[in-house]
């Protein structure tokens, strides 16, 4: 983005500090690192590093890694980690640390791009006259009631930038918040392969904001290839790309073409690597059918351990659909705030995907500062933070009580995951409602001090 040298050195310092912290922990507490790699909070069967090692070992030894019950991760990790396996373990660590820095750099660029778009905002459309994007035009019905109610009272349309006033977000803050987040550090030390997913999602957002639609779609395809859930981010990504140009169907078509083409390319490359399509059943199949019931912080595992066999398929469909049904409504409601829609959908993924870990939450927490302007409208901040800390402290304790001490049972850990889910729900609801409230205040500045209720 043609940034001057000063931000670069600033980022360099940040990155150096992040690497030092990680290296100190990695080399100073090797046993801790080995322990972290097995933590179910940090690594699920779909992102676990020990399972990846097993897959690479089987692949190297000439076995089909997808033949067994252990390796559920994408095929393209295999040659990459085969290469890393040749090198000393420190290289793998360095690779993960670099991935973290790269994610932070993408976040930096995202903030920079957001600032740039807000400062050059005169062409930012007012919400009421916002051009209908492809995603929105399909669902005009859903928009109508709100349009109508707003049209009646539409006065003093203000741009986002004007409304935000002097509050500016520093890219260094966002990057530092990501790099310094203890959950990020733990995920990095645990070598969870989720960081690649996070990187792909963040890259997609960055390139969307920078209007490089080919790269954006390619990264989205990578993210979807790695764990199919990010496919639902196509809506916000297209909104971001479309809000800045005269959107035509052909543009949407080209975007989808790139997306599908890249996905097909990745799929074919995987096929070429392992020589069969078995990877589909072992990666997406496991994520969809939840055949591995290893506990995690999500809602699926205990539900399907305890589920009656004849209702299993039904609830599986309900749960998976429930994750995806929010994609369209969120995009429609926030069609003029696509970055928020992006964040909310990431939050929904972190909450409702079949194998979530704290790494998914890290992404949401990293994107959250992009919406700093709504923080003052948030009503449950204390509750959310409290529940989050409560769940993240108690989950390992309860796990230990259940699995190692034998003095607790599965319900203890399950309760912690419920609290964790509640914390995420409060965060997402709070974020959504604050943005709506803020929009209202922006559109009706005169009634800002009056009592406002949701109808």
């Amino acid at each position: 983005m043609g940034a001057p040298s000063k931000p670069h050195t600033q980022f360099g310092r940040l990155a150096a500090a992040a690497v030092v912290i990680r290296a100190l922990l990695y080399f100073g507490a090797q046993s801790l690192v080995n322990h972290l790699q097995h933590r179910i909070e940090l690594a699920t069967p779909l992102t676990s590093y020990p399972r990846l090692q097993e897959g690479v070992f089987l692949y190297q030894s000439g076995f089909d890694p997808y033949d067994g019950n252990v390796y559920f991760q994408p095929a393209l990790y295999l040659p990459l980690f085969q290469l890393l396996a040749q090198l000393p373990a420190a290289w793998t660590f360095a690779f993960y640390a670099v991935m973290d820095i790269a994610i932070a750099w993408q976040l930096w660029q995202i903030v920079a791009a957001l600032q740039a778009s807000r400062s050059s905002a005169p062409n930012t459309p007012a919400p009421i006259t916002a051009p209908k994007t492809a995603a929105a035009t399909k669902h005009t019905k859903a928009c109508k009631p709100s349009d109508a109610s707003q049209n009646k009272t539409c006065r003093l349309p203000a741009t986002t930038a004007e409304f935000d006033g002097s509050v500016a977000l520093c890219p260094a803050t966002v990057a530092a918040l990501y790099l310094g987040n203890p959950l990020t550090i733990l995920t990095c030390l645990a070598h969870s392969t989720l960081v690649f997913n996070t990187f792909a999602i963040v890259s997609c957002l960055r390139h969307s904001l920078q209007q490089r639609w080919t790269l954006a779609m390619a990264w989205l395809a990578v993210a979807a290839y790695l764990s199919f859930y990010p496919a639902m981010l196509i809506g916000p990504a297209l909104l971001i790309l479309g809000n800045a140009r005269a959107t035509t169907m052909s543009f949407v078509g080209r975007c989808l073409g790139v997306l599908i083409g890249t996905s097909l390319g990745l799929g074919l490359a995987s096929y070429a690597l392992v020589g069969s399509w078995s990877f589909i059943a072992s990666t997406y199949g496991v994520a969809l059918t939840v055949s591995d019931l290893t506990p995690n912080l999500g809602l699926f595992w205990y539900f399907f351990i305890e589920m009656f066999d004849h209702f299993r398929s039904f609830f599986l469909v309900v749960f998976q659909l429930h994750t995806f049904i929010f994609a369209a409504p969120v995009c429609i409601r926030f069609n003029n705030h696509p970055v928020l829609a992006f964040t909310v959908l990431c939050g929904i993924m972190a909450l409702f995907k079949s194998y979530p870990s704290v790494g998914d939450m890290v992404l949401v927490l990293a994107l959250l500062p992009l919406h700093h302007q709504v923080f003052k409208y948030m009503r449950y901040t204390f509750l959310t933070v409290g529940l989050m800390v409560y769940a993240l402290v108690l989950a390992p304790l309860f796990w230990h009580l259940w699995i190692y001490q034998g003095s607790g049972n599965a319900n203890f850990f399950y309760a912690a995951t419920l609290v964790y889910a509640a914390a995420q729900i409060f965060l997402l609801i709070d974020l959504t409602q604050s943005m709506l409230r803020r929009e209202h205040d922006r559109l009706y500045p005169t009634v800002r001090t009056l009592l406002v209720a949701q109808e």
């Binding site: 097995h38 020990p50 399972r51 090692q53 097993e54 070992f57 089987l58 030894s61 076995f63 033949d67 067994g68 019950n69 252990v70 009631p145 109610s149 707003q150 591995d292 019931l293 290893t294 809602l299 205990y302 539900f303 351990i305 305890e306 589920m307 009656f308 066999d309 749960f319 429930h322 929010f326 409504p329 969120v330 429609i332 409601r333 409702f352 259940w402 699995i403 190692y404 049972n409 599965a410 319900n411 399950y414 419920l418 509640a422 729900i425 997402l428 609801i429 959504t432 409602q433 709506l436 409230r437 209202h440 009706y444 009634v447 009056l450 009592l451 406002v452 209720a453 949701q454 109808e455």
Partner: protein, 639 residues
Amino acid sequence: MRTGIYAVALATLGLLLPVTTADATATGNASPADTFTEQLLIHPLNADKFLSHFDFTVTAPLALTADHPEQHYRLFPRLIGQIVQRYGIREFHLTFGQGHWDYERWGYPVEPSTPPSLELWARLVPSEDIETRWNGFTNALSGLFCASINFIDQTTLVEPRLSFRSAPSPPSAAHADKHNDEPKSDHDNARNHHGDGAGATTVLRHALLAKENVCTENLTPWTKLLPCQTKAGLTTLLNSYQLYDTDYHSMGIHVTLDCAASATCHPEAHVTLRQTLSVVFDRVRLGLDTGTPDILDTLFKRSLRSACPLATSSQLAVVVPHASPWQLTVGPSYWAKAPLPQYGIAVFDLQALLSKQQNQQQQALSSLTVPLQQSDSLLPPTTAHLPAGVTVHRHITGQGMERGGLLVHLFNRLDHAVSTVYMDALPWYLNVHLHTLRIQRHTLATTPANAVSDLASHPFSPTTTLFQPSQDHGRPTVLELQLEIPAQSLLTLSLNFDKMFLKYTEHPPDANRGFNVGSAVLTASLPPLSTNSASRGTDGPASSSQVLTSCDYRTLLASLLTSSVSPMPNRSVMFAKPSAQPCLTRVYSEPFLVNLPTPDFSMPYNVIAFTCTVLAFFFGSMFNALTRGYVVLGRDTNA
């Protein structure tokens, strides 16, 4: 009870004809085509334990059991014959076991299968419908033996590619002359299989049911297959009160066709049915220390009154140390020389001793008694235990219910390297991580039996590694390692696994007891006894290499049968020259119990309610936020 068992067997097999295995009018002189021999070997294992090994062998020409117009069963049980014929079985071995065979103290068993559970392995003729045939086969056996053999499914079934290939061929009494040739051909087969496992002409399947108890309900159908059932002969000693009150119990049925390893069967081939029963009695528990007990009465609480008239040969062989004084009310028919110099074998020919018709030299007996003069008379000269040369021990490591590991110790106490194949089949709910497999070699000290002299471990790599990863709710993980264990060394294998989380319906009712995992099998190519004897000089009399292997026992039993044909003077029968071929035997590890993490079994409704509440909470709030707009309260009145 008896009719019930028959009903099950008949219903399973779909047989309509009544089963008459033994012809009541038959005389002791069996036709040469169809022979039956019975043997009981009583062998003191060490100061405290007695091994009693029953061996009943029926050999019949294959034409009797093949698809022949006149199916004529005389001594060979029709039930088995029809199973073999109908399901295309070339060989099968079914063993019911209970208790642990202590290789470290007892040496090798007579019958190599020692898992403390149910073991079935078979060779089948390959064909399209092999799954159907296998299912039929296991169901037939299940009905026949009143056991859960039909629970052998894909989660326990293994098709070994290196192990079991080299089964020690069961020498039949009728073909004792061929005996020396058989191990050679088997060994050649084994070599071929090692070269190309896929080139096998038969399909080898192996399964262990780790949680299967053996009981009288299995013994009764087993004895029904014998020509004399439990009415005469050695089978009258089978007193289930005594048999199941033992340290170790193993009951087996072994059916082998001569052509087991080849695709087509020679028309003159024979089928051999061997029924074996090994029990290890504890001397203290039996109260052998008092008085001058009769050994048969003490062990079985029964006495022998007759020999089976259908048997070609009916023998009781008691292995006794030479050094100890003997006094018998009845002298043995002859003394045989045991393969180990410190023992002699007193052989009692039951037909000569007990049947009045054939009695010429000796007076007929109403019952045979073998009383011991003093309690220590059966003790071996050295009470130091004689560990088997090659043993395997498997331990489960790790704590907690999340992960675990295996630690396997493979001992080779012999003075030369031994070629072995280690096979472990772990059920699907243990997710094995092959990349954690580590093999280390330690050198054993020569003086104390198990001490490791060389604490430094050296990495060791197997000759061949075969690995079949498990599948969810499907086949087990199978690990086969071909290992050349160096002389006097200990190999330690370690392997990690994750424990899977099962649905609450998949746990057994006693979920916190754990899941049984069957034994690992080590197929070892042991040196012949002659080589062992040669190297004995350096190690002294208590050398660990002076342990009989299963093959040696088999040769011993066969040679006793052949020698009984010609009358020999006392104490001069030579033990048949041991085969120069290495003995391929199997050594079983301990099974283990693994604790899987359990959910709360009372929670289904609560979990469904709680989780769905969370989902509904989010859906409701989000729906609310997305569909409703903000309005100013009281705006109409203000305006």
